[in-house]
Symmetry: C2
Subunit: 111 residues, 2 copies
């Protein structure tokens, strides 16, 4: 249900601040701004191989944090439950209280 790319982008969102500045920058170029390894290599004036190695190493670090903390997994399970709640509540969406609750739930999903 979740491809490797989106999963890594989410890991970066949660644990990115545990990377070094350089690792985070390169990962952000690649996973958030969708730049290719060659484009990053030109942008930073380092070899494509070096960019490749930093990306692989950073992916490994992020995966290790997730293995230890499991916070992305927890987040995804919470999101799934919130979507279920929204679906149930939308049956009652004419009610003003419920409208307010649906807005609060959307805030939660965005957090």
């Amino acid at each position: 249900m979740f491809d490797k790319w989106s999963k890594t982008a989410l890991l970066l969102d949660f644990y990115g601040n545990l990377l070094t500045d350089k690792q985070r920058l390169i990962m952000s170029y690649h996973y958030e701004e969708d730049m290719s390894l060659s484009e990053i290599s030109e942008e930073l004036n380092i070899s494509r191989q070096a960019v490749h190695d930093i990306v692989r190493r950073s992916e490994k670090i992020l995966a290790e944090y997730e293995e230890k903390l499991g916070l992305v997994q927890r987040f995804l399970l919470q999101k799934e439950k919130l979507e279920r709640i929204k679906k149930i509540l939308s049956r009652e969406a004419a009610n003003e209280d419920i409208k307010m609750v649906l807005r609060l739930i959307d805030d939660l999903i965005e957090m």
Copy 2:
């Protein structure tokens, strides 16, 4: 609203797996099983001063992770929103759909 003790226990819950086994054991004795530093010192047969140093060092490590990741802060804000949602929905608690939603929200708060 949140004393230092409860805050540290929560940090331990989120980031405890990033400590060494020894740090985690001592922090768990102290913050989860409520053992005093002297009791831990006897239990592990190390000096009270060593236990004290490990506790302080571990608290610092946990606080540093929170400063970088802010996941406990995010969790507390989510919990506050969920409590607000519960309060609003409890006005409608005769409705079967709403009862189900309230159960789902309790699950989320416990996660």
